[in-house]
Every structure is written in C-alpha cells, then in structure tokens.
C-alpha cells in the first residue's frame, strides 16, 4: 500500500546534517507499523513528510500506486483529503462541532452530500461506541472518548493510510490499551496501512512491526 524509497530529510537550518537519510519502507494493506525513536529523531517530521506537509529533500513516496513526491501543495491536499487519516496526541476535536459533525468533517471536505455524510458518521460513531452521544458537544468528553471520536474521524472516509502521532500519549494505560485496540482493529478492518509514532513500548508492541528511526534509517527495533 505504502512504498518509501531513499527518503531523506535534512535538519531544518542545518544543511550539513540529516534528520534521516535513505529511508526504505513498504507497508501492506491492513498492516500497522510502529515507529519509535529518541525525541528529536524526526518521527513527527517523517509523518509530516509522508502527509506532504513538509517537503522531502530526496526519495520517492508511493501510496496505492500513486507517486506522491513532486505533487504541488494543492494536489497533495486533495490526496490527504481522500487517502489519509490522522490521529493526534491532543485529539483536536473541534469544540464548536457536535461529535457527529466532527466525525463527518473529512466527508464534508470530500463534498459528500449532507445526508450521506451524516449517515456514514453515525455508522462510524457506532463502531467506536459513541453512537448515542452523536449530538453532544465535545466539552464533556473524557480523554479516551475524545480519542475515540478522533479515530472515527480518521477512518470515516476509508483512507489508505492512517498516521497516528502518539495517539495514546494523553491517556492513562488502561484507556490507552482500549483506544489502541480500537484503532488497530479499525485500521486492519478497513484494509488501510497504518503508521503509529510512539514512545510507548506497550503501544508499539501491539503493532505488526516495530521500527526505530535514526539518522541511518528505519531499522527493526531489536536491531537498533
């Protein structure tokens, strides 16, 4: 599903030093890969590069057979809209939208008809166990509930790649396990590829593979 070849990125403001160099990675549909590494090793930058939100210095990215490198800003935005899903550490649920509207947001961006968007959002909320709270505002939700909404939002439009940046960083261990189980199950069910950036060994251990990011590349964690 996702193919990364020779991907390189220099450190911002220091052209001589690489953040990472010559990354190679292939992720199959339904597979979820955990990326771990030191703070500042470039894990989040790697996600931004994959999402086209930061330029890469060299290399090639292909998603579902489409070459992403070289696309302009607007074309990449369209690809993100259609094929990417995101889960953030801080949830980023919009407080002025109801839970159903928050989940429907990617469908709005895809200009789906309002009724269809609402139907699909409600179905997705059902799958994360929040169907009965669809009309609620996010203000009263717990951290775990907010992240469930975020997962529903990330998957509602059937993306090909889900990027999760410390999705359980704000949750206690019990809640983190629940949320992670849900996220991984939904990714596998939908046939998407998933990349999970985390500091948590416990979270990483639930993924299909664990890779460590360093200047020399992405290596299996036990080789790092």
């Amino acid at each position: 599903m996702l193919e990364i070849s020779r991907l390189s990125k220099r450190r911002p403001g220091d052209a001589e030093r690489s953040l990472f160099r010559g990354l190679e990675l292939r992720i199959a549909a339904g597979e979820c890969v955990a990326v771990v590494g030191e703070s500042g090793s470039g894990k989040s930058t790697l996600l931004n590069c994959l999402a086209g939100l930061e330029p890469v210095d060299d290399g090639e990215l292909r998603l579902g057979g489409t070459t992403l490198t070289g696309l302009d800003d607007d074309a990449y935005a369209r690809i993100r809209r259609e094929r990417f899903g995101f889960v953030f550490q801080a949830f980023h649920i919009l407080p002025h939208l109801t839970l159903a509207q928050n989940v429907a947001l990617p469908l709005w961006l895809l200009q789906r008809p309002a009724a269809q968007a609402e139907r699909e959002a409600l179905a997705m909320l059902e799958r994360v166990g929040l169907r009965d709270r669809a009309a609620d505002w996010p203000a009263g939700l717990s951290g775990g509930e907010q992240q469930r909404v975020a997962i529903a939002r990330a998957l509602v439009h059937n993306p090909q790649l889900v990027l999760a940046d410390e999705p359980t960083g704000n949750l206690d261990p019990a809640r983190a396990d629940d949320v992670l189980d849900l996220l991984l199950a939904r990714i596998r069910d939908s046939g998407a590829a998933g990349i999970l950036v985390t500091h948590s060994r416990r979270a990483a251990a639930r993924c299909d593979r664990i890779l460590r990011l360093s200047e020399s590349g992405l290596l299996p964690a036990d080789e790092g």
């Binding site: 993100r80 990417f84 947001l105 709005w108 309002a114």
Partner: protein
C-alpha cells in the same frame, strides 16, 4: 504590585503589538476628536465673548431692539434716570461692501459718551485733525479690519442701493481681534438711513443701583420689542445658538471613543481567552484572583493612558489644522470673522486624558471579570475552554430593558437646550444592539444552512456554536455602522428635506437683493418700481426682513413681511395659508413654535414700531435658514403698522420665454455697479447645498474614523483568534484543507462576523436615525425633516464593509496559513 505587573501584564501588551497598537490608536482618535472639537469651540466662544466684553466695555446693561432700531428719544429719557450713571448710544450696521464678500460691522458712536463706558472703542485719528472723529466721512478701523480689507485710505460701503465713500481716518487701538469700524453716530445715522434711530444703548449704572433693580425700574419705559439685558448676554446667545452643533460633534467623538472602548474590549477579551493557561498557572502558583483582575485592569488603564496622551497631543494638532483650513466654527458659520488662537486647556486636556483611561479600563472590565471565573485545573490544559469562553449568552430581557429605557428617554424634554435624553437613548440603543448580536448571529446561521461547501459549513458551525466570537469581533462594527448609517440617514433626510424646502421657498424665476437681510443694503419703493419696469418682468413680490424680540430672555427672531398666497409658497407643516379667522394672521417657523410654545390658532404678540400688535398663528412652517426662528406676516399689514416700505429681497416672475440673464443684465444697468445681488434659483440652491455639505464635512470625517476603528476590531479579533486557533487550522491542513481553503474559511468567518455586525448595526442605525431626526434635531435645532433612507449608499457601504472585513480577517489571520500552524498540532501538550 511587585515585579509581576511589568513582567506578566504589561509585557503582554508589548507581545500583542498589533492589537495594542490598534487599541491605542482607537482611544487616541476618540480622545483627539472630542478634545479637538472642544478646543476649537472653546477658543471660538472665548474670542467671541472677549469681543462682546470689549464692545460692552464697562456697561452693566444694554438696551437692544429690532435690527431696524428704535427711536433715539429713548436715549435722552434713560440718560436722565437716577439709576443710570452713564449712557452711550450706538448705531450698529452690517455694512455691505460692493464687490466684496461679507459685510463690515460699523458702530456709530458718540465719542463724548464713549469714554465713560467703552474706552476700548475710542478711535485714534491719524495726523493732527482734532475733530477727525466727528467728520461725517471718517471711519476708523480695527487692526483686524485693516488686515482683512487691505485698506489704508478709503472704503466704499453701501446703504440701500447707494454707495457711500468713507475715508479711513485712523484706527481703534483698544480693539485687536475683531473686524469692525467705528464712526460718528450722526454720520452713521445719516449715511445708513437710520436718522433718529438707535440700535443699542449701553448703560453704566449709578453707584448703589444693581442690575435687577435697574431692569425693573427701566423696562417699563421701553417701547414694545425693546429689552434690557446684561451687556454680555450676546455671548450667552452665541453659546446657546452653537451649543447644539457643538454637542452634536462632541457626541460623535464620544461614539468614536465608545467604539475605541469596544476595541479594547475585543482585544483584552481575546487576550484573556488566549492566556487562560498562563493565568491558571499563576493562580496555581498562589496569585489571588483579585491580583489577576487588578493586573488586567492595569493593562487597560495603561492602554487608555498612553492612547489618551497621544490623543491629547493629536487634538492640539487637529485643532491647529482646523483653525487654518476649516475655520473656528468647523464650517457651520456660527463664528465667521473670528480669528481665535489655540491655547492650552489644562482642565479639558486632563479630562479627556481621564476619558481615555476610562475607555481602557471599561473595555477591560468584562474580560478581567471573566478571568475571575477561570477554572484552575482545567485551565492548565491547553485549549481547554478557550472556545467555551466565546459562547456568549443572548440576554433578550436585558436588551428589551435598554430598548424600553431608550424609548422613555426619548420622551424627555431637552436639558438646558441639549437633547440629553436623546443622546442617552442612542447609547441605550447601541448597548441593545451589541447585546442582540448573539441573537442576530443565531438567526442568520439558522437561515443559512449550507449543505455542500465545507468552508461554509465550518464557518457557520463555529459562529452558531460560538456567537461570542461575533460579539467580540463585531461590537465595534455594530457601534460604528449604527453611527454611520444613522448619520447617513439623518444627513440624507436633512438634505432631501432642504432640497424640497428650496423648491417651495424659491418659486420665482429671479431674485434680487441689495444685501443680506441683516446688511445695510435695501431697496426703496422707487428701486422696486425701476426693477418692475424692466422689460420681461411679469410681476414682483417684495420681502422685508427685520428682527423682533418675543422674549427678553431669548434671542431675537426674524420677522419676514411678504405676500402670503398659494403662488408664493410657504412650506407649511401645520395650519394653512388661507387664513379665514379674525385678526391678523402670522405664520411661525417650527423653532418659534417650539421655543415659545405656540400652536395654530393661538394669539401671538409682535412688537412692531414700538407697539405691541396682536396676531393669530395661522400656520407653522419649516424654516431651515433661521435657527432662532422666524415669523411671516403679510407685507401690506407690516407697512400699515410700521410705515416701513423698504425691501430686502425681490422675487421676480418673468414673462414667458424671457431669459433671466437678459433681465439681470438690464436691471444691473439701472443701478450702481455691484450694488445688487441677482441670482436664479438654481444658483441659490447650489450655494445653499454647498454650505450644507460643508457643515457636514466634519461629520463625515468623524464617521469615517469610527468605521475605521470598527474595522480595527475585526482585525484584532481575527489576529488573536488565528493565533489561538493555530492547532485547529493545523489539524484542518492535515485533513486535506489547502492554504487557500483556510484563507476562504477566515474570509467567510470575517465576512459573516462583519455581516452580523453590519445587519445589527443597520437596524440599530435606523433606530438611532429616528432618534436623531425626531428627538435630537428637533430639540437642538427645532426643525423637522422627512425620513429618507438612502438605500443604495447604505447597501453599498454595508457590502463594502463586509468585503473589507473579509480581507482584513484573512490579512490578520495569515499566520493560520503558515507552516507553523501545521506544527501547532503537536504544541498543545
């Protein structure tokens, strides 16, 4: 408060450079406009009062009558009274100067009586002519008159339609700033057709006699229409006459300052929302909530103080510019001929500086009070509650209370000639409008339910859920739009009413006059006959103007004697032209009806030729030309009662197909050069409307400033919100929105916010316009006007403002489109 104040609070003002600078600018502009108006008018009134006191000299009382004067025998009668120590007779004439604009005030004085009462007016002759002051051709000019007229040798003045050549024989050393001339009283009476008549007698009272006693003793000796008043009463009349105009301009400045206060509110409110985590942290460290509030109020006070100080400096600059380019009366014509100097006014400056501080503190009050409610535990988490703070509750009950208060205030009579109730009602309406913004926002979002566009959906969803954002961003817009729309409606109604009024009062084909009604030019019956005999003139209608005093405590009103019939229109608002009752009919202007509480069918006593004459009020007419009021009576009746057959204005109807220009040329040939002013109605209309527009020019400028400040509000709100919402925009970029989409989202929110402000502002503006027209103008100037809504300009203004607000929102929120917004999704923890 310890080092916390400069490091936490005042440093925040420095960090928010744009918002702080715009708030400072808004307060500075409001203070500057208000203080400048006050400085200009104080200087003008001060100079006017100085002039009056100088002319009155040591006089305790003045005897004044109609413009055409009263019998000089009164002087001899009064001079012999025990209450009077000295009396000085005066003939005052506004002498027309052929070929020049305006008139020259000539005082005919008795030099032998002058020294005891008005030594400042004593002329000083050039050369060795001991009797120069008694020469019938000698005139003495003040320094200001010499400078203005550039005359050192001779002067050509006009009396009736004849030319009077006078010799400049010296100057008046005691008079500096006023443009005037003095001459011997007998010569003035003879040359200006005032034989046997005086216009004023200045009295110095004997020791042991006071004003009240003397007035009681002397008033019964005076003929009807001649009154005794304190020597400085004219200054009070000028104050009263121009007060409404001055208060109007001051109120406009106050609304600009109020808009500035709203801007401080927007900026401080958003600052508090953004700094919730910082404040929660300070509270967690042990700072008390009271200290927090004090710190925030100090921020507001510093903004107000610096803005106020800048405004005071700016006010002096504006006043100096106004003196140089617009005049001491700001174009309204109340103090023409005065040359006041700008002086430092410490009290007014301090008061306006304090008003600036007040605007800063008042604008910060609500946000500071909101800081008291920050929940410490939740506030420590970023993003928590920031948007909740923008959920404003609509308070329709309180808004209805303010609306009711506005209605009740409109019913109050004026307070000392100032429509205080009307102005307070306007303030109540503005508060009502701002309080109803959440309702308007909700109503408009309910109307617009976009089904497809994600940008529109997001924008409407945000504004529906956070109407407080609309309140914060558009409070200034509401106030400034309401003001601008109300003024536009009022000015448009006024202008359109003046236009229709001119149609009614200018029915003839050509108008001829020897001077303004108050000037020394007039037409005799012989002159009228000569004009009527000019080929092409079908008929003439003569008008005589004088002044009469209906009440010793009020300024004189203008008496207009003319033919009254349907062919020569009088724009009536009550009564009729065809009077069929008993007695002599009079048609009074709205000002006379208001000021003297008269209505149709009531008797009216007019002092004519020293005798009280009884008239009946047959109608009330609209007169935009004379603020003190006017009374129209039939000219034949006037001639019968006074014997005065002189004419000030002559309206000519021409025979069919006759060119007015030919008739005008033929009339000029029959008179001395430049002794007549001849104009077609179109020219009079053009000049009148030009004066109208000049009077309102300052108003337009002040409106523009208020609207600009309102736009500052949109800019500061969106600049602050775009920073506060960086992570939201970053998330949206992740989800596939482009930079252009974010710009569109900001533009839509900006346009929507301004749209809510504009719609609410226009509705409030309609209500404020009604108060301005029916209460403020009515009580200030005593004239009515027809409501006229300039749809196109108001629509264009509102649309333009919405477009401008959209652009301003995008510009102010450009940080939301930057790369840092993408990274902001990770910065929240």
């Amino acid at each position: 408060m310890s080092p916390v104040l400069p490091r936490i609070f005042l440093a925040s003002l420095k960090r928010r450079r744009l918002a702080s600078a715009l708030s400072l600018l808004a307060i500075a502009l409001g203070v500057a406009l208000g203080l400048a108006v006050q400085l200009i008018h104080d200087a003008a009134l001060g100079e006017f009062g100085r002039g009056i006191r100088q002319l009155a000299g040591g006089a305790d009382l003045q005897v004044v009558g109609p413009r055409t004067g009263f019998d000089e025998q009164l002087y001899f009668q009064l001079a012999q009274r025990a209450e009077v120590a000295a009396a000085s007779p005066v003939v005052e004439v506004d002498a027309r100067m052929p070929g020049r604009e305006g008139t020259l005030r000539i005082l005919g004085i008795d030099v032998f009586r002058l020294a005891g009462i008005q030594p400042e007016l004593m002329p000083s002759a050039e050369g060795n002519d001991t009797f120069a002051t008694l020469r019938p051709d000698a005139v003495f000019l003040s320094a200001a008159a010499r400078q203005e007229l550039h005359e050192s040798a001779g002067l050509m003045l006009q009396a009736g339609t004849t030319l009077q050549r006078l010799r400049v024989a010296g100057d008046i050393p005691g008079v500096a700033g006023q443009v005037l001339g003095v001459m011997d009283i007998a010569a003035a009476q003879e040359r200006f057709g005032m034989l046997g008549r005086l216009t004023r007698i200045d009295l110095r009272l004997a020791d042991g006699s006071n004003r009240a006693q003397a007035t009681r003793a002397l008033q019964p000796l005076l003929p009807a229409g001649v009154v005794l008043r304190p020597a400085d009463a004219a200054a009070g009349e000028a104050d009263l006459l121009s007060r409404a105009y001055r208060v109007n301009l001051t109120m406009l400045a106050a609304i600009a300052l109020l808009t500035g206060g709203f801007l401080v509110f927007s900026s401080q409110f958003l600052s508090v929302v953004r700094r919730r985590r910082e404040f929660a942290f300070l509270l967690a460290l042990g700072m008390t909530r009271r200290s927090l509030m004090r710190g925030l109020l100090t921020e507001g006070a510093v903004l107000g103080l610096v803005g106020g100080a800048a405004g005071v400096g700016l006010a002096y600059g504006l006043a100096a510019l106004a003196f140089r380019f617009v005049g001491a009366d700001l174009g309204a014509g109340y103090f023409s001929g005065l040359r006041p100097a700008l002086v430092f006014a410490p009290l007014a400056s301090a008061a306006y500086l304090l008003l600036g501080v007040f605007a800063g503190v008042a604008g910060t009050w609500a946000p500071a009070a909101a800081s008291l409610r920050i929940p410490v535990a939740r506030g420590l988490h970023a993003g928590e509650g920031a948007s909740e703070a923008l959920v404003a509750r609509a308070r329709p009950g309180v808004a209805a209370g303010f609306l009711l208060a506005a209605f009740l205030l409109c019913q109050l009579p004026p307070w000392q000639g100032v429509p205080a109730g009307g102005y307070l009602a306007i303030a109540c309406l503005l508060v009502t409008a701002v309080m109803l913004v959440p309702v308007a926002s909700h109503g408009l979002t309910a109307l617009l339910q976009p089904r497809r566009s994600p940008v529109l959906r997001l924008a409407t969803a945000r504004l529906a859920a956070a109407p407080g954002q609309a309140v914060v961003a558009s409070a200034g817009v509401v106030a400034s739009v309401a003001l601008a729309v109300a003024m536009a409606i009022m000015v448009s109604s006024f202008r359109s009413s003046v236009d229709h009024w001119l149609d009614a009062v200018l029915p003839a084909d050509l108008y001829v006059r020897a001077s303004l009604g108050s000037g020394s030019g007039f037409l005799t019956p012989g002159d009228v006959a000569r004009i009527a005999a000019v080929p092409g003139v079908a008929s003439t209608d003569a008008v005589r103007a004088d002044s009469v005093r209906l009440d010793a405590q009020r300024p004189a009103v203008t008496l207009i004697a003319r033919a009254v019939h349907s062919g020569w229109g009088l724009p009536l608002v009550a009564g009729s032209l065809a009077y069929e009752g008993s007695g002599q009919p009079a048609w009074i202007s709205e000002a006379v009806a208001d000021l003297h509480q008269l209505s149709v069918g009531q008797p009216l006593e007019l002092p004519l030729a020293g005798e009280p004459q009884r008239f009946m009020v047959a109608g009330i007419w609209r007169d935009y030309a004379r603020q003190n009021g006017s009374v129209v009576i039939d000219r034949q009746c006037y001639i019968r009662l006074t014997g005065d057959e002189r004419v000030n204005d002559l309206a000519l109807r021409l025979a069919p197909a006759i060119e007015p220009g030919q008739v005008a040329a033929a009339i000029r040939e029959r008179f001395d050069a430049d002794t007549l002013e001849i104009a077609v109605p179109a020219k009079i209309r053009r000049i009148t409307l030009a004066i109208f527009d000049r009077t309102f020019f300052i108003t337009y400028l002040m409106e523009a400033v208020a609207v600009l400040i309102g736009l500052f509000g949109v800019a500061t709100t969106f600049a602050a919100l775009s920073t506060a919402r960086r992570s939201e925009f970053g998330m949206l970029r992740h989800l596939g929105m482009t930079r252009a989409d974010i710009a569109r989202l900001l533009a839509t929110e900006g346009a929507w916010t301004a749209g809510v402000g504009v719609v609410t502002g226009i509705l409030a503006g309609l209500a404020v316009a009604w108060v301005l027209i029916e209460v403020v103008n009515r009580q200030s100037f005593h004239w009515s006007m027809d409501f006229h809504l300039p749809y196109l300009p108001v629509g264009a203004f509102g649309t333009g403002l919405v477009a401008l607000a959209a652009a301003v929102a995008v510009l102010a929120g450009r940080r939301a489109m930057s790369h840092s917004a993408v990274r902001a999704v990770r910065e929240d923890w």
